[in-house]
Subunit: 132 residues, 2 copies
DNA sequence: AGAGTTCTTGACGTGCACGTCACCGTAACG
DNA sequence: CGTTACGGTGACGTGCACGTCAAGAACTCT
């Protein structure tokens, strides 16, 4: 059951290609909650799932604080029912933000594709000129 | 012809909701090239187009240096034919990166949607419990 | 037992993307 | 003609996300 295995900081670093400093930093910012065996940190399946989301969020340009709030959304137990409605609202806002961003990205991609097409045409023209 | 109008720094700031400091900073990093009337900067249509792309790039989590390179791609004249092939390669890499990011974002969105669905179900259950 | 490796906790340093402040020029207004 | 407004150039400050280094604990090998 590699599922419930706990990882040392080094194993965690190797698995996700980050430094120990980064993991300690994320813990200090309450993004990760490794358990302690004596002094040492042991990273659980939960930490691995969270780290995956953290790194993804970073690629989207989210700040660690943004990401922390998102993670809190994902990890809601069945407590805080009173805040549930509010939480859903926040999550929906985030989602529409992300949708906007995805659409914008799609647009940027097609624009860049257009530029590449143009550049390739130029390259062709240049080749024909060279051949003449 | 609002197309060829030039904007003062303040007009530019109001139009894009940035500070003068930001625009001067971008100029110092060679992301913008306003013309000078005496000492004053005048931002052209070209600067406006570039700034739009800069701000978009930032929303995607690109660094200013990344963005500068992208902008240089967009603004290639017909010079540097020798570097054209290399440039196209770089642009294609960027594009595949962006595609990956868009796909990942799509996945993140659907995951978040799933979480929201779950949360709404919880909210419903809570409401029924309250009613009982 | 000594040496080496891996981990820990501070504490200070760094690169990026600006913010802020001091001071200067100049064009416009009353 | 003083002053208010806008724009300019340094130069230093700031928040974020770590990097780096010092000093020590804890285990491991020989």
């Amino acid at each position: 059951m590699t599922e419930n295995e706990v990882l040392t900081i080094r194993e965690m670093c190797d698995a996700f290609n980050v430094t120990p400093r980064t993991l300690r930093f994320y813990e200090s910012k309450e993004l990760l909650f490794p358990i302690r065996e004596g002094q040492k940190r042991l990273f659980t399946r939960r930490d691995r799932a969270r780290l995956k989301l953290i790194l993804r969020g970073k690629r989207f340009g989210f700040s660690l604080e943004d990401i922390r709030q998102l993670l809190d959304l994902y990890e809601m137990g069945d407590q805080q029912k009173t805040q549930l409605h509010e939480t859903i609202k926040i999550a929906q806002q985030r989602m529409s933000e992300m949708s906007r961003q995805r659409d914008e990205l799609g647009q940027a991609i097609s624009e860049l594709a257009e530029q590449i097409g143009w550049a390739e045409k130029q390259l062709d023209k240049a080749r024909q000129t060279d051949a003449a």
